[in-house]
């Protein structure tokens, strides 16, 4: 049976891994490579590296970073997010070491390019990022470049329905970095059922993870800040969720 996943997230701004609080306040953590290597060693189910200042500043993807990460020879699948402008950007990221890529601003800028990207690298390698909030009994989709919250457009809904993307990353941007902050309504009220969803933003404790992972459409929870406080934090979370359909790893070595 397919397991549900716990994804370790590393947020990068101006080339440094940062702890983010609602995407407006940041604390530096160090080199992204070090945090990614930690998550690899701690057996995260996937690693998401999200470079948050690339789309906003029209910089394109951080190819140098993904190239450095690609050379690490990670044993954990790597997802890259930040600044993807075209099919060519996505293909190059895969060539440099990403296993999957997240499209964000491209959903506003040119949805046909998302389809082109999917055709080249396969839908399984493409994730759509939707920063959402719950306002006035309605789901709102943040255009983080204009800072406007709008309704999810029909074109984005049609793209998701067409299965050009494999999963939707729902970020609770308002509660990101806030302990126990994730608003579960963002998942419950998401208009498309039977779409694999990844929840991210303010997910900090096992009971909250359990509530999310119990939902049929949740394929993974993604955790950022709260992995930074303890060694092997992912394994500790999994120990607390041992009755759920997660992957439990062993550290036994056969190479001695």
């Amino acid at each position: 049976m397919l397991k549900k996943r716990i994804i370790g997230v590393v947020t990068v701004k101006a080339g440094w891994a940062v702890q983010s609080f609602g995407y407006y306040s940041y604390l530096p953590l160090g080199k992204p490579e070090i945090l990614v290597e930690n998550l690899d060693r701690w057996n995260a189910d996937e690693i998401l590296i999200q470079v948050i200042d690339r789309s906003e500043n029209h910089l394109g993807p951080d190819f140098q970073l993904i190239e450095r990460l690609g050379k690490l020879g990670l044993e954990t699948p790597l997802i890259y997010s930040g600044g993807i402008r075209s099919e060519e950007d996505g293909v190059r990221l895969i060539q440099l070491g990403a296993d999957r890529v997240v499209v964000d601003a491209l959903l506003f800028d040119n949805i046909n390019k998302v389809r082109d990207l999917s055709e080249h690298i396969g839908a399984q390698a493409v994730i759509a990022s939707l920063p959402l909030s719950w306002k006035g009994d309605e789901l709102k989709y943040l255009n983080y470049r204009s800072r406007e919250s709008v309704s999810i457009s029909d074109r984005v809904i049609e793209l998701i329905k067409s299965r050009c993307i494999s999963e939707v990353l729902i970020s609770d941007w308002e509660h990101e970095g806030m302990p126990n902050g994730f608003e579960i309504k963002l998942i419950e009220k998401f208009p498309l059922k039977d779409t694999p969803l990844i929840a991210f933003g303010g997910i900090s404790n096992p009971s909250q993870m359990r509530a999310l992972l119990d939902l049929n459409d949740i394929s993974a929870v993604a955790i950022g800040n709260f992995l930074n406080y303890h060694e092997h934090a992912i394994q500790k979370y999994k120990e607390a969720l041992i009755d759920l359909p997660l992957r439990f790893t062993s550290y036994e070595s056969i190479f001695n």
Binding site: K3, R5, G70, Q95, E119, G122, Q124, S166, T249, I254
Partner: protein
């Protein structure tokens, strides 16, 4: 394991650092190349894969590797295909359009119903426990999958299956050619143990 070598067939899609890293960890020499002279010098050919079937076959054709790989299979050289690399071993694929594959294992590549994907960690069920890499532990271990299409073909070529929306073949084999739908190089310790057993098995066949 130190005496074995693997040539990763570089057809321009994907990054091979993780495969090389995993192979080195288990004591196998590995190189990534599209040079036939270098590929001739290794024990096992490996076709990795990330991407879609048509551009991958196109790239293999452009590099003059299709006929070479078919010839090597006829010469009984061990060949391992991973993920898309496994799918390329089949006769054809219906990803986006009908595309002819390498044809080393009878069968074709089909989409999951409802255009679904199979992404994440899942287990294998071995249909025949005789091969040394099908040790009992592999039935409990999860491996990383990331695909939208799957192999459909005669049961005689199926070594292991995986349960998703349907049961699909996750390891296929025809003589010295083996295809893995999952990514052992991204499956952490379980993947390395699997690769070690598989390579040992293939080299002692």
């Amino acid at each position: 394991m130190n005496s074995y070598s693997i040539g990763i067939v570089d057809y321009g899609l994907g990054n091979h650092a993780s495969v090389i890293h995993s192979l080195k960890d288990i004591g196998v020499k590995a190189l990534s190349t599209d040079k036939i002279s270098d590929l001739n010098a290794v024990d096992i050919l490996m076709l990795p894969g990330v991407g879609a079937f048509p551009p991958a076959m196109n790239s293999l054709h452009n590099r003059g590797l299709v006929d070479y790989i078919r010839e090597q299979a006829n010469l009984k050289r061990p060949i391992i295909g991973i993920c898309l690399g496994m799918q390329l071993l089949a006769e054809s694929s219906f990803e986006h359009k009908h595309t002819t594959g390498l044809g080393l294992i009878p069968g074709s590549i089909q989409a999951f119903s409802n255009l679904g994907n199979h992404i994440g960690w899942n287990t294998l069920k071995f249909l025949n426990m005789e091969s040394t890499y099908s040790n009992s532990k592999n039935n409990d271990e999860a491996f990383y999958f990331n695909h939208s299409f799957f192999y459909q073909g005669p049961s005689e070529y199926q070594v292991a299956t995986t349960q998703h929306s349907i049961v699909f073949p996750s390891i296929i084999k025809n003589g010295n050619v083996v295809g893995l739908q999952f990514h052992p190089e991204k499956s952490q310790l379980a993947g390395k143990i699997f690769l070690k057993n598989l390579i040992t098995d293939m080299m002692n066949a």
